[in-house]
C-alpha cells in the first residue's frame, strides 16, 4: 500500500494537469480536413495529418516571430532593470539597516500585492499622455513595478541566509565593502539571483492586462497578447496555429523550470518564507 500510494495520488493529477499539452501537440499537426470533421476520432491523425503546414504558417503568415522577439527583448531588459534595483536593495535590507530595514522590507513586499488589474486604468491614461502607447518601452517601464517588489523580498531572504561572518572575515582581511560584495556575497547568492531572473522573466511572459491595454499595434505585441488577439479573428480560430504558438514557448520554459526546481525550492526555504 505504501508503495502504490504515491502513484495513486500523482497519477490522476499528472494526467489531468499534463493533458492540455498533449492536446496542443496533437492538434498542432492536424490538417483542416482532419480537425474540422466531427466524424473523425480526435485522438487519431487522419486525412493527411500530421502536417508541418501550421507551424510554417505561423512563421511565414503571422507576426509570431516578431512577438517572440518582442517578448525576449522586454524580458531581458526588465530582468536587467530588476536586478540593478533589487540586488542592492535586497542586500541593504538584509544587512545594513537593522530594524528599520525589516519594516521597510515587509512594506516593499506588500506592494507586490497590489495587482495590475487595480492599476491598469490610470496607467493606461498616463502611458497615453506620455506618448508611449503601442511601444515596447511602455511595458519595459511598467513591468519592473511588479518584478522589483517580489525580487527584492526574495533576495533579502537569500542574503539573510549568508553568514555575516563570511563577510566580516573578508572585511577584516582588508577587502573593501564593494569587493566583499563582488567576490564573497554574490557568488554565494547565485542561486537566489538565478531564481529572481527566471521568476522575473516568467512574470513578464505571464503578464496580460498591461500588454492588452497598452499595445494594439500588431508589430509591438508580445506573445502573451499577440497569439490571442491576432490568431483569433472574429469568429475564425486558427486552432492548429494557436496550439503550435502556445506550445513552442512552453517547452523550453518547462524544461528550464524543472531543471531549476530544486533551486527554486532552496530559494523559498532559504529564508524567504520564514
Amino acid at each position: 500500500m505504501r508503495k502504490v500510494a504515491p502513484y495513486l495520488v500523482t497519477g490522476p493529477f499528472a494526467i489531468v494537469l499534463a493533458f492540455p499539452f498533449y492536446w496542443m501537440l496533437w492538434t498542432a499537426f492536424k490538417t483542416d480536413q482532419d480537425l474540422y470533421n466531427v466524424e473523425n476520432v480526435p485522438y487519431t491523425w487522419t486525412h493527411g495529418s500530421p502536417t508541418f503546414h501550421n507551424i510554417s504558417f505561423l512563421f511565414s503568415d503571422t507576426q509570431y516571430r516578431t512577438w517572440l522577439q518582442n517578448t525576449v527583448i522586454v524580458g531581458i531588459v526588465v530582468v536587467a532593470i530588476t536586478l540593478a534595483i533589487a540586488l542592492p536593495a535586497g542586500y541593504a535590507l538584509a544587512r545594513l539597516s537593522g530594524q528599520v530595514g525589516q519594516s521597510l522590507g515587509v512594506g516593499i513586499f506588500l506592494t507586490y500585492l497590489v495587482p495590475p488589474t487595480l492599476l491598469f486604468l490610470p496607467l493606461s491614461r498616463v502611458i497615453a499622455e506620455l506618448g508611449l502607447q503601442d511601444r515596447l518601452l511602455a511595458l519595459v517601464l511598467v513591468y519592473p513595478s511588479f518584478t522589483i517588489p517580489f525580487s527584492t523580498w526574495l533576495l533579502m531572504g537569500f542574503f539573510k541566509t549568508i553568514p555575516r561572518e563570511l563577510e566580516d572575515a573578508a572585511l577584516v582581511d582588508g577587502a573593501s565593502r564593494l569587493r566583499t560584495l563582488r567576490s564573497v556575497v554574490f557568488p554565494v547568492s547565485l542561486p537566489g539571483i538565478l531564481t529572481v531572473v527566471i521568476f522575473s522573466f516568467s512574470l513578464v511572459m505571464n503578464e496580460f492586462v498591461y500588454a492588452l491595454t497598452f499595445i494594439t499595434t500588431s508589430s509591438q505585441k508580445t506573445i502573451s497578447t499577440g497569439i490571442y488577439t491576432e490568431l483569433i479573428r472574429g469568429d475564425v480560430f486558427f486552432w492548429q496555429g494557436l496550439m503550435a504558438a502556445t506550445l513552442l514557448p512552453s517547452i523550453p520554459l518547462a524544461l528550464l523550470y524543472n531543471v531549476f526546481l530544486d533551486r527554486f525550492i532552496a530559494g523559498f526555504t532559504g529564508g524567504a518564507f520564514r
Binding site: Y7, A14, V38, I85, L110, L113, P122, A254, F273
Partner: protein, 328 residues
C-alpha cells in the same frame, strides 16, 4: 515597536549612522522605493482620485462627484453578479488548490520510481504563460470540437463493444449529459464559471505544490525521527506533527492565493470575456469592460477599487503573521 523591543536595536541604529551605513543603505534602497512609489503608489492614488470624478476615456481629470461612481456601480445587477462570481471563484479555487497541492506535495516529497517524470508532468502547467494556457483550454472546451465532449459521448471501445462515459456520469447525476446535446462548457452560465475555476486551479496547483514541497523539505529530519520514536504515524503524524509545522507556509500560500485569484483577469477574459450574457463577469473583467471598452474611466476605477478591501485585509493579516513569526 523599537520602544517595546528595548534599547539594543536603537543603539545599533545610532552606531550605523556614525559609520555612515545608514546613508549607504538609503542609496542602495532608494531606487527601489522610488520606482515602487512612482509606479504603484502613484497609479493607486490616481485610481482613487479618478473614481471620485466623472473622467471618461481620454481624460486624466474630471469634476468631483464624490462616491457617485461607487453607488452607480453597486446598483448595476452585472456588478452584483461580478462580485458574487469573484467571491465564488476565489473561495472554490483556493479550496481545490490547497487540498490538491497538499496531497500532491505529500506524495511527491518521498523518493519513488518515476518521481522525476511525474513531477515534471505536474509542474507543466506552470510553464505555459497564463494567456497561452487559457487558449489551450479554449480549444479543449470548444463548442463543437471539444475533446472532453467527444470522450464523454462517443463509444470508447473499439470493435463491437459499447462503453460511453456519459452513461457512467449519468448513473450518478442523471440530469447532466445528453448524448446528442453535450454540455456547452463556455456557453452555460454555471458551467462557464466552473470552467474558469478549473482552469485557474489547473494553473495554480503546480506553484502551490512547489511551495508545499519546499515547506515539507524544511521540516528537520530530527522532527521526523522524534515522531517515529513516539510512535506517531500516518494520519496522527500528519495532524500533530506535519500540519502544525506546515501551517505558516500554508497560510502564506493561502493569503497570496486569495489576492492573486480575486484580482486575476486573464483566464476569465480569454475563456469567456465575462459571457455568456455577463454571467461569468468578475470585478476585474467588468472594470475592464467599463473602463476601456465603454470608456467610462471613472466607474471602471471605482469597480476595481472594490477589490481594495480584500488587499488591505490580506496585507494586515500578512503583517500580523510576519510579526508573530519574528517573535517566535
Amino acid at each position: 515597536m523599537a520602544a517595546v523591543a528595548g534599547v539594543k536595536p536603537e543603539t545599533r541604529g545610532w552606531r550605523d549612522v556614525l559609520e555612515g551605513r545608514r546613508f549607504l543603505a538609503a542609496v542602495l534602497i532608494g531606487p527601489a522605493v522610488l520606482f515602487i512609489a512612482v509606479l504603484i503608489g502613484g497609479p493607486l492614488l490616481l485610481s482613487i482620485y479618478l473614481s471620485m470624478t466623472d473622467a471618461t476615456a481620454g481624460q486624466l481629470s474630471g469634476h468631483f462627484v464624490g462616491l457617485d461612481n461607487f453607488r452607480d456601480a453597486w446598483s448595476d445587477p452585472v456588478f452584483r453578479t461580478a462580485l458574487k462570481n469573484t467571491v465564488l471563484f476565489t473561495i472554490i479555487s483556493q479550496i481545490v488548490v490547497l487540498i490538491s497541492a497538499g496531497l500532491l506535495a505529500h506524495a511527491l516529497v518521498g523518493p519513488f520510481r518515476g518521481r522525476w517524470f511525474l513531477r515534471f508532468l505536474i509542474i507543466l502547467p506552470w510553464a505555459a504563460p497564463i494567456p497561452l494556457g487559457a487558449v489551450a483550454w479554449l480549444w479543449i472546451y470548444d463548442s463543437l470540437f471539444s475533446v472532453v465532449n467527444w470522450t464523454l459521448v462517443n463509444d470508447l471501445l473499439p470493435g463491437g463493444g459499447t462503453f460511453h462515459l456519459y452513461s457512467v456520469v449519468n448513473a450518478v447525476t442523471p440530469w447532466t449529459i445528453q448524448p446528442f446535446n453535450p454540455p456547452q462548457w463556455l456557453g452555460d452560465p454555471t458551467l462557464a464559471l466552473a470552467a474558469v475555476i478549473s482552469v485557474h486551479a489547473w494553473r495554480v496547483i503546480p506553484f502551490a505544490v512547489v511551495i508545499f514541497i519546499a515547506g515539507l523539505a524544511s521540516i528537520p529530519t530530527e522532527v521526523d525521527d522524534a515522531a517515529k520514536v513516539d510512535g506517531a504515524t500516518g494520519l496522527k503524524k500528519f495532524w500533530y506533527v506535519t500540519l502544525p509545522l506546515q501551517l505558516p507556509i500554508a497560510t502564506v500560500a493561502l493569503l497570496f492565493g486569495i489576492v492573486f485569484t480575486a484580482t486575476d483577469m486573464t483566464i476569465v477574459y480569454v475563456l469567456t470575456r465575462g459571457g455568456p450574457f455577463n454571467s461569468s463577469q468578475m470585478l476585474t473583467t467588468w472594470a475592464y469592460q467599463k473602463g476601456i471598452n465603454a470608456g467610462n474611466l471613472a466607474e471602471g476605477a471605482a469597480i476595481s477599487l472594490y477589490l481594495l478591501p480584500v488587499l488591505l485585509l490580506v496585507a494586515v493579516l500578512m503583517l500580523r503573521f510576519a510579526r508573530r513569526v519574528e517573535v517566535s
